[in-house]
Subunit: 237 residues, 2 copies
Amino acid sequence: MAYELYYWPGIQGRGEFVRLAFEATGTAFADVGRGPNGVRKLMAVLSGKGVPHGNFAPPVLKHGRVVVGQTANILFYLGPRLGLVPAAESLRLWTHQIQLTITDLVAEAHDTHHPLGPDLYYEDQKPEAKRRAELFRKNRMPKFLGWFEEILSANGRGRHLVGNRLTYADLSLFQVVEGLRYAFPETMAKTEKDYPLLVALHGRVAEMPNIAAYLASPRRLPFNEHGIFRHYPELEA
Amino acid sequence: MAYELYYWPGIQGRGEFVRLAFEATGTAFADVGRGPNGVRKLMAVLSGKGVPHGNFAPPVLKHGRVVVGQTANILFYLGPRLGLVPAAESLRLWTHQIQLTITDLVAEAHDTHHPLGPDLYYEDQKPEAKRRAELFRKNRMPKFLGWFEEILSANGRGRHLVGNRLTYADLSLFQVVEGLRYAFPETMAKTEKDYPLLVALHGRVAEMPNIAAYLASPRRLPFNEHGIFRHYPELEA
């Protein structure tokens, strides 16, 4: 059965966490939103046309008759199928818990440029964004990144978040580092030394042959100012 | 094995979604954070003392040697054990997807009084809260509540969110209606007629004998201005 990912074309966004799981494992999938009539097909899946139920927002995964929405839920479904999660229930729940904490960080990173919500353009909430971004850089980023460093440190040699093999949470944390480096380069340059295990994990993921090939390919969209991680220099000033 | 919930005393907060699952099914559990030395015990579980791993934030559930964090993850774990989710994998994922969308709504409801994040008091972000709350009431609330109404309508007679039996998502949606009625009573009074299935589901949950007994007991904390759903009249003006 073919895997079909439904997500906006033109941005990495939340879809990227799913793409990385497919790419890391060399799993074929259709990136439907980026193909012919992609947005129309995405809209049909959201509204529930031809699938068992509607979906509040993308990404959505179709796999035969199964339709799964919510990024972390999609990864929970794919984990055992792609070999990206241990077999034990307690470790699957722990991996999912980490992923849901990454979800929270991603939402807060988004809100640095949209503190009043998604219904106004960034340009209509710039002063508020400046205040929220400052609090994010000073308090929230260290709290989240410090926690990831801590659980890496508590896990054996700190090479993986869970157990001694790659999970989808490792891949998602790689993407978080990528995104934060893009959005807040000065902050990351100054503070990465506080998170040596996290930085090392990011480096190892980047060097995986499948991931290195993906990052060098046109399939990897560049970051831009339409996605979750955006570089507005004024938010780091 | 005993169920132990670790959450802040004094507020319903995110812990309430877990409490409702226990209460609806008449399942005994220890509400550790509200007992002797509750906050100290909560802090130990967060920092990872005596448990397999640290946790970013409460609620946390302990069940024998299993430790689960993140509200939706806890409910995913409890669902089959309390008989609050169907057996089929696709329906468990769908129930979880709905719960994660409730999680998103809850985060946005929180951000109406904390648009700049959790590091400032409400009193230090009142003008921003007013703007965000207005957008939430006008755009986001109808989008979320409309979606819940839609998936109820698409599911048979619309008496449950998933299948034809109660799930933890039904209980959580009951709590969302409770919270929104507390935080935004005028908005709800004006708009509830647009969501008849949602309102009927709320009413049926409230009338379940176990839930009615719980709501009338001192175990049910009142809403207040320290939790997620807060009533600040100026945010509805």
